[in-house]
Amino acid sequence: MLLRHTPKEISERKALTINPAKTCQPIGAMYAALGIHGCLPHSHGSQGCCAYHRSTLTRHYKEPISAATSSFTEGASVFGGQANLTQAFNNIFTVYNPEIVAVHTTCLSETIGDDLPQIRKKAIKEGKIPEGKEVIGASTPSYVGSHVTGFSNMVKAMTDLAEPTGKKNGKINLIPGWVEPCDMEELKRLTKLMGVGTILFPDTSGVLNSPLTGEYKMFPAGGTTVAELKSTADSMGTLALGEWCSADAARQLDKKHKVPCTVLDMPFGLKATDRFIEALRTIAGVNVPDEIMTERGQLVDLISDMHQYFFHKKVALVGDPDQVIAMTEFLVSIDMCPVHIVTGTPGKKFEKRIREITADMPFEVNVKAKGDFFLLHQWMKNEPVDLLISNTYGKYIARDEDVPLIRWGFPILDRQGHQYFPTVGYKGGLRLLEKILSAIMDRKDRDDPETKFELVL
């Protein structure tokens, strides 16, 4: 047993987190920043934070993750990091020449109280930030929220670039939230099929799934351009996918530039995708094309084909709030039973949403925001499940409890392909269903006695 010391009896823990289902803000800010074209993320703190975030993102996306750091030592921690950051700007623009630097703070620079806007102003004045180059900043203390909060804060910081020209651009802003680069690509495909012009931000497609050609480009072709980000103030409206990841940025554009916004769930599964397409249809006043109708019908068809294997199967689910909410709804919609649901990110709204979605379930659903893997595992020991959906860290529980595992969310460190095969939209739904069925049936084929082992299932 890999987690042999985890007891079945649940005791209250007030101070100790064991096996967290979240990590800290800056890594989210770094991922979001990589979705801007020509952007170098910069971590304002000691170099270890930056190294850890780069390592984790690299392990998940299997792509180079370039990011700079202020490299604080003890001196900077005492006297403030202004000199380090100013020097960093000079070096960054001289050596790497990015279009934009997206600075995020760390526990260290937050605790000593470094003032990013002031440092930026001073650096501009001193000529350390060349003309025509941009610097944005997000406050991302690691002791508030989670990596999801950091993502949201950096996306919000992107709206600081928005500059109304007084002339509408005829587009809608689409904020995808923390999804894979391929998911962002899929969202662009869907909006294109709908005939809706969009500014998608951030957009890591083309950045974190770039081709292997024998050339290394620190700033690959993809990403939302600075010009597009400036233009977000001129859009017809903003669709924010995910309350936790995307809503703050959308509301900021509404507040500052009167760009109206709608917050939707992330379009994982049938119903959330339906609402996404419906929103595009009404906002842009367009018809849903046949191609999308076909895709929807195919998803419904597969649900009906697979239903017999899914019905009333129990699932444990852990991940980030926006994703987990949509996934819970998807599971309920195919008559599966999500019984244990955990996110590491704090937020009362999460538990409320999950309670609403699972209101009709014929049993008690365990749900906790700011829970951890240790608690989830204890719940599973008390009430076993047929399937676990989790990031890679769930594999220890899956092996101990002999439960099939579907890797979904962040980070996935031990499987590949998730960068390329989307799980959003109707097509993403097909992929999720296929993964769920394969996991369940592989287990059945492994476990069935000889008499029950059949060719046709």
């Binding site: 101070a15 064991i18 910069h42 975030h53 050609t213 290394y216």
Partner: protein, 547 residues
């Protein structure tokens, strides 16, 4: 591409100039001192600047002090609850990410193994404002109530140092309160020092202060040693232990691969310390000698020849014909397989070139494996080495101690009143030295590299990319952060921190694994697919006509 077809000529001076050309003048001046052209070996190696601050804004390979302390040194010990006091990130990132393998099996299915767990106080903003001491105290209690470990180690992250939580006092109080659990703390805030190296030092000091020597219950064994600076990445330590066992050598404690609390606690009973990674642990070797009288020698179990050489060194130290014969017998038994693998692979790897930028000893160790593959190391350096790792311990008295190093505690150790006993007399040591066995000595990386090799300290992403473009090595070795930018250039990248998914590479069986892995990497077909057919021959001279 075969080695013979490759016509890349370079001059190290030009390469160095090219590497620093783009920097602002101040940065260029600093980097110039950290890039050394290995030359004039007979007159002593030229000086390199190392263990100095990274430059803000320059994308470094380095991590932090916490990473060196918790991740590298304490991480591989299975039965200590490693509790990180701080916001969640630091604990999360060091959770199972170093591929330290361990085997709690010998202690049965209930053998203690907390390595798969991640413990954190997950500090929130109110803890930062009002202080996190109470929360830490409570977390230690909760960990104890849940797991009853024999030991709990507490690690400070950046904000803890800033707000001044007194983790040492809390640990001491909790140790007294709990009674049967040794609790101690590490002030390893990430901003201390300039790299992971400071963290190794902090970790070793506390292990020595709080654990080593705690258990005097005799350890059985005729030839008792400790292996220092081996972290069991990808099972290296398992292979080295297999070889030791075969030779009849008792390894009391590996610091810290596949290790346990009791192994540390009894380490003072060894008769010899064998040091693998000089950088991370030379302090412990020195302290064990001063306090208990155990001499130390530098060993290297990376590479089959290096392994044989190190085993012979250990046998020579014990001066026992039985052990000397046994070691020779083991080498004779193990080498044929290694030689068979090498002779099969050598025609495909011979003449190829490698670059290595890892750790603070690893680049040196792996050079031996590349030598065995007939591959030339054309550039190398350390992520967090000090001058002595490059130039040898002879420069130790000349290293200037700067403010960043002064922040790291040096503990002064004295001979233990009752337990100090020199394992060898002065005369015996002298006789052994005359026989070629060097104690307390490490010559560093530079003398082992060819003249003209570029030795680069704290390599950064920009220089890495330039080096690869200019010198076109057949393989580049570094860590995960570097992996994909190098591979985008069409050059295979092997991780030598965590070994990608491979290993072990230590010992005899490990050498064979490494030969196969490098053969796979440098001869993979994938590197020939970079250009599409129409890019190879872009000019269209006519159209294809279907008959």
């Amino acid at each position: 591409m075969g080695a013979a077809e490759k016509l890349v000529q370079w001059n190290p001076t030009d390469i160095k100039a090219e590497l620093i050309k783009k920097y602002p003048p101040k940065v260029a001046r600093k980097r110039a001192k950290q890039i050394m052209i290995n030359e004039a070996l007979e007159n002593g190696t030229p000086e390199i600047t190392a263990n100095v601050r990274t430059i803000p804004g320059i994308i470094t390979m380095r991590g932090c002090t916490y990473a060196g302390c918790k991740g590298v040194i304490m991480g591989p010990t299975r039965d200590i609850v490693n509790l990180v006091h701080g916001p969640i990130g630091c604990s999360f990132y060091a959770w199972l990410t170093r591929r330290n393998q361990t085997d709690a099996g010998p202690e049965g299915p209930d053998g203690e193994n907390f390595m798969n767990y991640c413990f954190s106080t997950d500090m929130q903003d109110q803890d930062i404002i009002f202080g996190g001491e109470k929360k830490l105290e409570q977390a230690i209690q909760e960990a104890y109530d849940l797991f009853h470990p024999k030991s709990i180690a507490v690690f400070a992250t950046c904000p803890v140092g800033l707000i001044g939580d007194d983790i040492h006092t809390i640990s001491r109080q909790m140790k007294e309160k709990l009674g049967d659990c040794n609790v101690y703390a590490f002030s390893c805030e990430g901003y201390k020092g300039v790299s992971q190296s400071a963290g190794h030092h902090i970790a070793n000091n506390q292990v020595f202060r709080h654990i080593v020597g705690e258990n005097d219950k005799p350890v059985e064994g005729k030839y008792k040693i400790n292996l220092l600076g081996e972290y069991n990445i990808g099972g290296d330590g398992f292979e080295i232990d297999r070889v030791f066992k075969k030779c009849g050598i008792t390894n009391i404690s590996t610091f810290s691969g596949n290790s346990t609390y009791e192994q540390f606690a009894t380490a003072h009973q060894a008769d010899l310390n064998a040091v693998m990674c000089h950088r991370s642990i030379n302090y412990v070797a020195d302290m064990l000698e001063t306090k208990f009288g155990i001499p130390w020698i530098k060993v290297n179990f990376i590479g089959a020849n290096a392994t044989a050489k190190s085993l012979r060194k250990i046998a020579a130290y014990f001066e026992d014909q039985e052990l000397i014969d046994k070691v020779e017998a083991v080498i004779a038994e193990e080498m044929p397989d290694v030689e068979a693998a090498a002779s099969e692979i050598l025609p495909r790897t011979g003449g190829k070139t490698a670059m290595m930028f890892v750790g603070g000893s690893r680049a040196h160790h792996y050079k031996e494996l590349f030598d065995e593959l007939g591959m030339k190391t054309i550039s190398a350096g350390y992520e967090f080495g000090h001058r002595d790792d490059y130039e040898g311990r002879r420069v130790l008295p000349h290293i200037k101690v700067d403010a960043d190093s002064r922040n790291i505690e040096e503990i002064v150790v004295e001979a233990d009143e009752t337990r100090f006993s020199p394992r060898k007399s002065e005369e015996e040591l002298k006789a052994l030295e005359e026989g070629g066995l060097k104690f307390k000595d490490y010559e560093g990386l530079a003398p082992d590299l060819e003249e003209g090799t570029l030795i680069i300290d704290d390599l950064n992403q920009y220089e890495a990319e330039k080096l690869v473009e200019l010198m076109k090595p057949d393989i580049f070795c570094a860590g995960i952060k570097e992996k994909f930018s190098i591979q985008k250039l069409g050059v295979p990248m092997k991780q030598l921190h965590s070994y990608d998914s491979g290993g072990p590479y230590a010992g005899f069986k490990g050498a064979i694994n490494f030969y196969k892995e490098i053969d796979r990497l440098v001869n993979s077909r994938v590197w020939s697919y970079m250009k599409a057919p129409w890019q190879e021959n872009p000019q269209l001279s006519g159209t294809f006509v279907w008959e």
